[in-house]
Amino acid sequence: MVEHVEKHSPLGGFAARLAAATRASGGAVRLAELPFLTQVNVRLDAKGPAADAVRLALGIPLPVAPNTMVRGGGLAALWLGPDEWLVVGPPGTASGLEARLRGAVGGTHAAVTDVSAQRTALLVAGPRSRDLLAHGTSLDLHPRSFGPGRCAQTLLARAQVVLAARDERRPGFWLLVRSSFAGYLAEWLLDAAVEYAEPPS
């Protein structure tokens, strides 16, 4: 017997509460889950031929500067380490993206791993999003030091996250958090966002 397996996102049950916190803040903070993003971990020698092949296959280079992100063609490549990147794409494209990357690196000493189920993504945006995140991280999130194109692996409220700044004029961040920590982090964000709720009139 084949059972139909439904896909659940780690924060599926939080959608209404995240939306309510967004409404309560009057737009000061926007919280939402971005479920099922495609995430592929790539490890290779940044100076080797595989890096060039990946650049041609994706249309964007793998960034070599620490804590930076390159976006283009619906994809984002985040620096995770001197030989490690996370390529993020739209939902449902994991097998195609993995195959493209595998084809590009060929037989070189490299690893391409689909890690889409490892983390889920949260959108934290709005004019007070920086203040909200500052409750839980000591990173300087001012656009002067953490502007568009910046990303970082760090601890937010003691949970390991990948933080990326959206390349728009208004402040906003993506937060990639491990599925098993997502519920905790969502609860923490909702609690921290209470401060930015507008007083009832």
Binding site: P66, N67, G81, E84, L139, Q153, T154, L155, R158, Q160
Partner: protein, 92 residues
């Protein structure tokens, strides 16, 4: 909290790092040739200076790379950080 400058990621909270003990402790060339006393000395004996100490750290919550740092054990001041394989820089 200590602010430790990761050679890749820049200054980060101490909580993101793991400590790896004294740096520059070479594995014996021919371990089988060592006496028990020499082997025990390699395994268990480490410097315990009051002052600059070269030690290994791992940025476990960040880039997950190991690196070396010279830390003043009396003041917790991080005098230098350098990547694995690089020689210990001269610190004042």
């Amino acid at each position: 909290m200590l602010l430790i400058p990761c050679p890749w990621c820049g200054p980060r909270d101490e909580a993101e790092f793991g400590y790896g003990g004294q740096a520059h402790v070479p594995y014996p060339q021919d371990p089988a040739a060592l006496s028990d006393r020499e082997w025990a000395r390699y395994l268990f004996f480490r410097d315990n200076p009051k002052g600059p100490h070269a030690e290994r750290w791992c940025h476990s919550a960040g880039c997950r790379r190991w690196f070396n740092a010279v830390r003043n054990t009396a003041t917790n001041e991080v005098l230098a950080v350098y990547r694995v394989g690089e020689p210990r820089p001269v610190t004042g």
